[in-house]
């Protein structure tokens, strides 16, 4: 097959390219240039492009650079900024996967005559007994990335390859060392690629939006303090609220954006029986029907969080309600919520956590 492999300049995508080549595919590497601004941490900086190109040279495959910085700004950076204005906690890496890697890039790949797009994500794509493509967790529990690529539907799964999904991270590094790839010992990227370590999120947002001052109040409405930037506050946050220590630990339990108000309370106030999810994408449309019969699922709500037992109530084709088996800490609106099957092996659906609805709050 003719495969376009997205090479970020990291070890996983380097080995992904090598694995595809070893399997006899016709491989072309591509690095997406996404961010023109300042960054010193994330992928796709000039030095990362250099690494990707050098690995491609070493493997003897062509390497391209596609400039998708306009799309990245439109679909990832601008919504990231707006989400903070709206009091949400966005996950830009997921939006990048959704809009860039598995939309813009795969669309370009189709146009250019490629049979598949590959990335170095730790996830697996398998076909089940009924012929349904399943997005399964990667072989390395600690590095599984099925959560961040949960938005792939059947058509996209059929066009996507994850060549290192069956390997552990240690095996990936071993492979890279065996092949003498220069990226073999490169540390994993952790942070949001467009936010620099020195300035951080505060500087990044501060350069783009005016911060709103906000009052911090207790659950009974009595004032507790003041903060300078409502946009930097997240549900569950404990630090930087300008409130005196002592007494029970206080958490942000509500961000009231319209009224510029942050409500704090004890940990117990964070717990919820349910959460609503919208912008839902089903891995396979048939799962929505199956879940009407047996509605047990496992739910993951952060990149490396645990999968928690719950039942699912389907509200509309694009929205659903999660009922936790045991009350869970509130999930910040804007975070991605991904449903797995009951044995925690593959993705069923994923979407975005909504603000508390009247019905979803603790009853």
């Amino acid at each position: 097959m003719k495969v376009l492999v997205a090479m970020s300049g990291g070890v996983d995508s380097s080995v992904a390219a090598a694995e595809l080549q070893a399997a006899g595919h016709e491989v072309v590497g591509v690095t997406m240039r996404l961010w023109g601004g300042e960054s010193d941490t994330g992928c796709c900086s000039v030095s990362d492009v250099d690494d990707a190109r050098r690995v491609a040279q070493q493997l003897g495959i062509d390497h391209l650079v596609f400039n998708f910085s306009d799309d990245f700004n439109e679909h990832v950076v601008a919504p990231y900024v707006q989400a903070h204005v709206d009091g949400l906690t966005p996950n830009p890496c997921i939006e990048c996967n959704r809009h860039l890697k598995f939309d813009r890039l795969s669309e370009r790949a189709r146009l250019l005559g490629f049979d598949a797009v590959a990335t170095g994500h730790h996830a697996r794509i398998e076909r089940d007994d009924e012929g349904v493509m399943r997005l399964a967790r990667g072989a390395d529990d600690a590095k599984d990335q099925s959560y961040v690529v949960h938005m792939l539907d059947q058509a996209e799964l059929a066009y996507t390859m994850f060549p290192v999904g069956h390997l552990t991270k240690a095996q990936v590094r071993e492979r890279a060392i065996e092949l003498g790839l220069r990226t073999a010992t490169k540390p994993d990227s952790q942070d949001v690629c467009f936010i620099s370590k020195t300035g951080g999120r505060e500087t990044f947002l501060g350069n783009r939006i005016p911060f709103r001052k906000a009052v911090v109040v207790n659950e009974d409405g009595t004032p507790a303090g003041k903060i300078d930037a409502l946009e930097l506050v997240t549900i569950g946050q404990r630090k930087g609220l300008g409130i005196p220590g002592g007494g029970p630990k206080q958490y942000v339990v509500e961000v009231d954006t319209p009224n510029a108000r942050v409500v704090i309370g004890e940990e117990g106030s964070l717990y919820r029986q349910s959460v609503d999810v919208d912008q839902v994408i089903w891995s396979d449309a048939g799962d929505a029907e199956r879940l009407k019969v047996t509605n047990d699922v496992l739910v993951q709500s952060s990149a490396h969080g645990a999968a928690i037992p719950a039942t699912v109530e389907i509200l509309t084709p694009r929205s659903l309600r999660i009922h936790w088996s045991e009350p869970q800490r509130r999930i910040a609106p804007g975070q991605s919520i991904v449903l797995y099957n009951t044995i925690n092996s593959f993705v069923l659906a994923g979407g975005i956590a909504c603000p508390d609805s009247a019905k979803a709050s603790l009853q």
Partner: protein, 377 residues
Amino acid sequence: MGTYLDHAASTPMRAEAIEAMTPYLDHMYANPSGSHRFAREARKAIDEARDLVAATLGCNPGEVVFTSGGTEGDNAAILGAVRRLGGTAVCPAAEHHAVLHCVEHVGGVIVRVNNVGTVDLEDLQRVLEEATEEQPITVVSVMAVNNEVGSITPMREVARIVRKYAPQALLHTDAVQAACWVDMREITPLVDVLALSAHKFGGPKGMGVMVIKAGKHLEPLILGGGQERDRRSGTHNVAGIIATAKALEVTDATRQEEIVRVRQLRDRLVDEITQALDGVLETVPREQRVPGVAHVCFSGLENEALLFLLDQADVYASAASACASGAMEPSHVLEAMGIERSWSNGALRLSLGHTTTEHDIDTAVAAIVSAVNQLRR
């Protein structure tokens, strides 16, 4: 080797230039600044090269300065003028980044361009007239031929306006894309400073030529041993200088016949593309463009994708300038010309040169038509 239509990026070295430089890469290795007989031989070769360059450019040998390339020449002209004379710089919006970034660096003024990408003469006049005594304009830099779309600047008109409205300013021209297609003797007399890049006319990369007219002074960029009459220090790149002079000599001697030959090839290339495909914009009218450049915009596609398919078909072309990572940047030239993004996204530059053949044109047309059709499906 595939079909090379990227001569404006770099054109193959002239065989005569390679032959001429080879002894200086081999046994003629002396430093020409030395005082012994061996050094004097190298010195003589450089002096002769300088005479040759001066003759083809239409200036005095003492006005020729050898540099590391076009970018150095542009930097030396603009930064050198402002450092020496104070004031600020002016250039049009469609200049090469080697000029544009220098002018921006000194806080200069950017002048509009017209719809073919050459300087808007009225806007140039306005900017020069509006300059104040506190911030005089000390250097005006206007490219002779645009590197992306190939449009030819009426340098005579530019010179007339600069002399009239900013008589104290130096007039610099980035003539990098002109050398192959324009008799330099028509440009050099109009300007005070001029920059060329050797690899654009069949010389080696890493070599350039500047003309700094007698009586015009720039603060040198590079200080050191005082070579090139203190205008550009650093040990002479002897082999590079010899090759540059030879390439320029060959280019000058063959220019008239090459203009006729290449123009016919270029016109056929564009005609056959526009006949075979709808939605093609010829960016600049042919009579305002050098013969070596075909610049077209295709509607409904992205040039990154087009260039990939052409690359797969072993047809080598380009679009706008590439950034440090190798990604395509949106063209500032097309933007300055007022070309809509729906067109400029599909911009393609095909540039021809001394090695281009009829067969290249046939191959390129077939590959381009096939690629555009694939992308528009």
